[in-house]
């Protein structure tokens, strides 16, 4: 359905005897089309709306009113409390701690996983050696193995390395599990770069690292951005690895959020809970709305080829 010929022109040619029928904006088809889309949009937007509205209300108002009504009195106190006072167990310093941990996990994980995967992808695309494709195939199939089968061996591995419970250990885990998809992404991208370029550089005497840093890296900025989007959202949203490989002091934001909201003691403060939930979702949401097409490209590249 490319935008080559307008619909009315086609209709004119195809239903010649009747002559071109002017398209009404409010045809039955359009009402159905936009009606369905709007209805579905409500389903998709509702949770976000409810979260925002709830987080801006005071507790009395929540108990009285209904979750869909906009706040009568807007208060930002729940946000402040979620950030700096919400309790997990005995710690009452809010989500800020989890946010800090998530940032400290995120930055090295993204850097390390992308560095390693891009070099892997480059080696697989341009410097194939005997067995490289075998390892790559294992890696890709590894992406489908349920994490549960590898959880405990990694516990042993991290214990041996002295990294169990530390942020460094979690960084390693994210690097390992991000590797299949990222390697695939980079390998496919580097394969699409014309081989003549690579050959010319070889003739000029550039080696493995020379070509990587001087030719491949500058040419592949877009794919690095895609990989970063993929990793930042993926690692930020991780819950499973966080809950298993870290300890309460180093819990990432998602784990801390779950502990805050689902803790059984005390009175439930729904407004604080929703503010905390939104705070945790904010980072990937901002990335999503800023990156737009690149985000779509990232998941499409990751998904369709996987």
């Amino acid at each position: 359905m490319a935008d080559t010929t307008p619909m009315s022109f086609d209709a004119a040619v195809l239903t010649e005897p009747r002559g071109p029928k002017p398209r009404r904006r409010l045809s039955r088809r359009n009402i159905f089309l936009y009606g369905t889309l709007l209805l579905v949009s409500v389903y998709y937007l509702l949770p976000l709306y409810v979260m925002v509205v709830t987080s801006l209300k005071g507790m009395p108002e929540i108990r009285m009113g209904n979750i869909f009504s906009p706040p009568v009195e807007i208060t930002f106190e729940p946000w402040v409390r979620a950030w700096s006072e919400a309790c997990t167990g005995i710690n009452c310093d809010g989500l800020s701690r989890g946010f800090g941990n998530s940032v400290r996990i995120l930055i090295p994980s993204v850097a390390l996983s992308i560095t390693i995967a891009s070099i892997n992808g480059y080696a697989l695309a341009n410097w194939r050696f005997k067995g490289s494709e075998v390892f790559f195939t294992i890696l890709i199939f590894g992406a489908f193995i349920p994490y549960q089968t590898m959880l405990y061996p990694i516990v042993i591995l991290l214990r041996e390395l002295g990294l169990m419970g530390s942020i460094g250990g979690l960084v390693l885990v994210h690097t390992i599990f991000g590797m299949p998809i990222l390697t695939l992404l980079f390998r496919n991208y580097f394969t699409s770069i014309p081989e003549e370029l690579f050959k010319a550089a070889r003739v000029d005497g550039a080696g493995f690292w020379g070509i990587y840093f001087r030719i491949m890296l500058p040419m592949s900025l877009p794919i690095f951005v895609v990989a970063m989007i993929l990793q930042v959202t993926g690692i930020w949203n991780d819950f499973l690895f966080g809950v298993i490989y870290t300890k309460p002091a180093t819990y990432p934001m998602t784990v801390q959020l779950n502990n805050i909201v689902n803790s059984t003691q005390g009175v439930k403060e729904y407004n604080v809970n929703m503010a905390a939930t939104l705070l945790t979702g904010l980072v990937p949401l901002v990335i999503y709305f800023i990156s737009g097409k690149l985000f779509v490209r990232g998941i499409a590249a990751g998904a369709v080829k996987g």
Partner: protein, 297 residues
């Protein structure tokens, strides 16, 4: 390396090999080795610590006679089948609607896809709040005067899994829609013209011509959805934590409970091996179809 004018074959390979060490280690040690380790230890009686004391199929017998595991499997089956069908159906329908040269296509796509950027924990907590019996949808409808209205999936053991399904669909359909949209965009304009010339109806064009042409896209979507279903864990933990009682337990949660909470490692290993087996059952036919004839890649 950089200065050598004509590196010989061995030298060239060496550099790439050194650079690939992390990949090789991950593939062989973690993925292959780790999986094999878990499978082997699933035949042992390990409890707090892994011990190589083989007990045959004892762990598996106990697993399949455990009520909790049966509930987990049943939940996963219901969630899996429903989510597979509905995600494909909704994803394709939405993609087809967006593909009808509509206005505000980007806006709609942004709306349908944004939940995918959110974590399962955030998704689960948001829907836990919306489905809250006192303040959520049920409470609101009752507030309108319909006192007997009942919609409380998260506290009803019989339908709790559908409550999770609603949240799961909300989070994941956008991804499938994007994949389907890419597939639809790949269909030649001439096909549409030809069906119009032949006077084939729109619905029939989609079901008889377009969908069969998009078979590879559907297969890809299927594999993605299926591998996501088996990993179902965070959503359940956040939304219901397996409750009420054990009514919304899933296999991934069973594994983690036995490995890290109940200190019954062998049972956890056996359950995770069963998860692996189910993945293989899905994956092998797909890999055979996809890569059977031609070379990988």
């Amino acid at each position: 390396m950089d200065s050598s004018k004509r590196p010989n074959r061995l030298f060239r390979n060496l550099s790439a090999k050194i650079a690939s060490i992390p990949m090789i280690l991950t593939a062989v040690v973690v993925f292959l080795g780790g999986t094999a380790w878990t499978v082997i230890y699933s035949f042992t009686g390990s409890r707090l610590l892994p011990k190589l004391k083989f007990v045959g199929f004892d762990q598996y017998e106990r697993l399949w006679s455990s009520r909790r595991w049966m509930i987990s499997i049943e939940n996963l089956a219901v969630y899996g089948i429903c989510s597979l069908i509905l995600t494909l159906l909704l994803g394709f329908t939405l993609a087809a609607l967006l593909d009808r040269k509509i206005r505000f296509e980007n806006t709609f796509r942004t709306i349908f896809l944004y939940p995918f950027a959110l974590s399962f924990v955030v998704t689960g907590l948001a829907w836990q709040w919306i489905l809250n019996p006192d303040f959520g949808i049920q409470g609101v409808v009752r507030g309108w005067g319909w006192e007997s209205f009942s919609f409380d999936p998260l506290n009803n053991p019989d339908i709790v899994i559908y409550g999770i399904l609603i949240a799961g669909l909300w989070q994941g359909t956008g991804l499938v829609m994007v994949i389907m949209l890419a597939g639809l965009r790949g269909i030649d304009e001439d096909i549409w013209k030809a069906t119009r010339v032949d006077g084939i109806g729109l619905f029939k064009t989609y079901t008889r011509v377009v969908v069969p042409m998009m078979r590879p896209v559907f297969v890809t979507a299927l594999v993605i959805i299926a591998s996501g279903i088996i990993k179902l864990y965070d959503l359940v933990v956040a939304q219901t934590n397996g409750g009420p009682g054990i009514a919304s337990e899933v296999p991934a949660k069973y594994v983690i409970n036995y490995m890290f909470r109940a200190q019954n490692l062998g049972q956890g290993f056996a359950a995770s091996t069963m998860m692996l087996v189910s993945v293989i059952i899905i994956l092998v036919p797909w890999a055979y179809l996809e890569f059977g004839g031609k070379k990988h890649g």
